[in-house]
Subunit: 226 residues, 4 copies
């Protein structure tokens, strides 16, 4: 009886059924392999440097065959780019999630809050900082992060856009402003957190936040009195 049932089901689902089932398993397996490669690569990249990381290393440590690497990535730089997008995106999303729980009003305060949160993350995880800073530029930021909707939701560009829309103050060129702030923040974190130069990050923070605020203020559009 039971056997018959199974048979029936098997027959009913036929080729599609089997395919689906198989895909379910196979796809999960593929995802596992890919993730293993990504995680392992990140660890090796940050610990040994990209130059000193070989595909052999990655594959071996990830527990897959060397050839398997090439099923998922073109080469180690392809893998790196995907890692950057993923990691950088995570940092921003995490900061933003914290921001939601505050009731900060002005965009200035909100952006400084984000900067502070990002600094905290980087302080706790300098390895991540080194990896992102060394590899993240504004170009990659725009192309990879803003368009990184394939793996994450709640997309970053929407968040930024919303932030500016809900601000009472208007700015001359929001994109330029963000650009400068990101570059300044990134540079400062890199030098200050990793090398305590020109100051340790805690000492640098006041100057940095003041600089951010002054960059923003100087771009404010003063509403014409009426």
């Amino acid at each position: 009886m039971n056997r018959v049932h199974i048979r029936t089901e098997y027959t009913q689902s036929g080729k599609r059924g089997i395919t689906v089932k198989a895909n379910g398993k196979t796809a999960a397996n593929k995802k596992l392999k890919k993730d293993a490669l990504l995680n392992t690569a990140f660890e090796l990249y940050t610990r040994e440097g990209i130059q000193n990381t070989t595909i052999s290393n990655i594959a071996e440590k990830a527990g897959v065959a060397k050839g398997t690497f090439y099923l998922y990535f073109k080469d180690k730089y392809d893998l790196r780019n995907r890692l950057i997008a993923r990691k950088a995106s995570q940092v921003f999303m995490l900061a933003d999630r914290s921001l939601q729980e505050t009731d900060l009003e002005t965009l200035e305060d909100r952006i400084v809050f984000l900067a502070d949160h990002i600094i905290s993350q980087f302080s706790r995880d300098p390895v991540l900082l080194r990896f992102i800073s060394k590899n993240l530029s504004w170009g990659i930021f725009k192309s990879q992060i803003l368009a990184a909707g394939d793996e994450d939701d709640g997309s970053l560009p929407a968040i930024i856009e919303e932030a500016f829309r809900s601000s009472k103050v208007r700015y001359k060129n929001p994109e330029v402003m963000i650009f400068m702030i990101i570059e300044l923040l990134s540079s400062c974190c890199y030098s200050s957190i990793l090398y305590q130069d020109p100051l340790p990050i805690e000492a640098l923070k006041p100057y940095l936040f003041d600089s951010i605020r002054s960059i923003m203020r100087q771009q404010e559009i003063i509403p014409t009195a009426e």
Copy 2:
């Protein structure tokens, strides 16, 4: 007699002898080779990328034997660091020389002038910009440039120090200020000149200069009235 004669000759032209006596020749020769290596390396680094440049390439194109390379540099990264120091230093020196011919008074104006001049240089030579930006960080800046007195004169640190001393306005933390300005300038040049992103450099300049000024102003020490 014969032997003595030969010996004498040998000694005179020997290792030390040549160096001392033939200084005019050998030392000049050495300088030539070293320069050939530096110039060739710069061309190859910028054209092909450091990764794709081999010591063989450099030596061959420079017209010396491969082994000779090792007489002057430890490896290609050693050579790169010296190149960065040299090139970056030149950029600053050139800007400063121009500054001397102006009669700008305030430090703010003077620094903006320097920034503008540097932007001009990079605009005319994006290859140089790419090379310096990709490889220059504040750490290297301090260690290599400020201490790059071995090849160039009129040393940079002196210039900077003098600039601050002659300024009427005092700043909370001059080093931090310079650091931020350099990082911001460097980032903006890289993205804007090489990729016109977020704006072409001419369009970005006003925002950039305003940001620099606002960073400086916000660090001004308001003299307490007495």
Copy 3:
């Protein structure tokens, strides 16, 4: 005394002397290495086939490092081409040297003699036959053999030209004739010596020589009676 003599010589010969001496040794060494590679490669190519012969095999068996291979040859096909030229040239030269010791008069007899001699060589060394036949085509024959004057002397083209010049009989198209004879000879040797198919070489010879002669006769230019 002896020492003085040496010293003197050393001094006298100076840079040039040393260079010459060194070159003598180095050059001899290079020739040795190159020959070792050529010989080893020939053995492996014929024993294992080119596809199954790796550069590692060759280098290892030749007693040099893998990298050394690339100092002398572009890849294993480059090496093969040079081998073909060398080996095929040797076969022809050997046959020709024997021919010199005969007093055969007609070109027909002389060419059949050459064919016979070549058949003998191939019969004794089927491995050589396989190597040459599998790789020698008329195109390679012309380009490599005829122009193989860099390593051997007494060049083949001169020999052939001389043969036709000294013949009393004239032929319509000597090059076409040689071409056909070589192709026929090569094909027959390959199949007959290596596989005794369609007949063992000794049994095939009469047919083959008759065919060669008939090909030649049919191209004779009958002198118009006067």
Copy 4:
């Protein structure tokens, strides 16, 4: 008893059985896949070379999975051998079919006609020529072509045998004669059609046909007068 039954059933539905029973669908499908693989392989072999053609390439371009390849062929050389047999056989059959429509009498004329027809085919399809010439030798010719009765009908050996039987002239060794003619024809086509060397095929033809005729004549058995 049961076992016997099964055996019987097994035999019936076995390899042959399935083929017979499911002929309508499955067999047609199989034939389709096999043909797709053969055609694709030929295209890739001739366009890219056998060495550069991978089983992946073939399978992908043929629209089947990689594993499927192994259901039909042992490896890519197995596939190549079958291709050669098929293609070469087609060339001969086509030439023979044309020959049937003539009323040429002597074997000499008939063989020259065949040669001419084959040359035409190769002239129109040099790719085919290259493929066959590069891979066809007398040994393969005999084993594969003559025994290629599995896919084609009107078998070649019968045709040849018939040709000699119906000839008035007798030849000393027909097989040797055919062998030489095929090798000569094949060599000439290869060099002349593909490289116009030593002459373009149209210019070479007269010499070639004369050579074929002279090879045949010289093997004629002159009937002893009675």
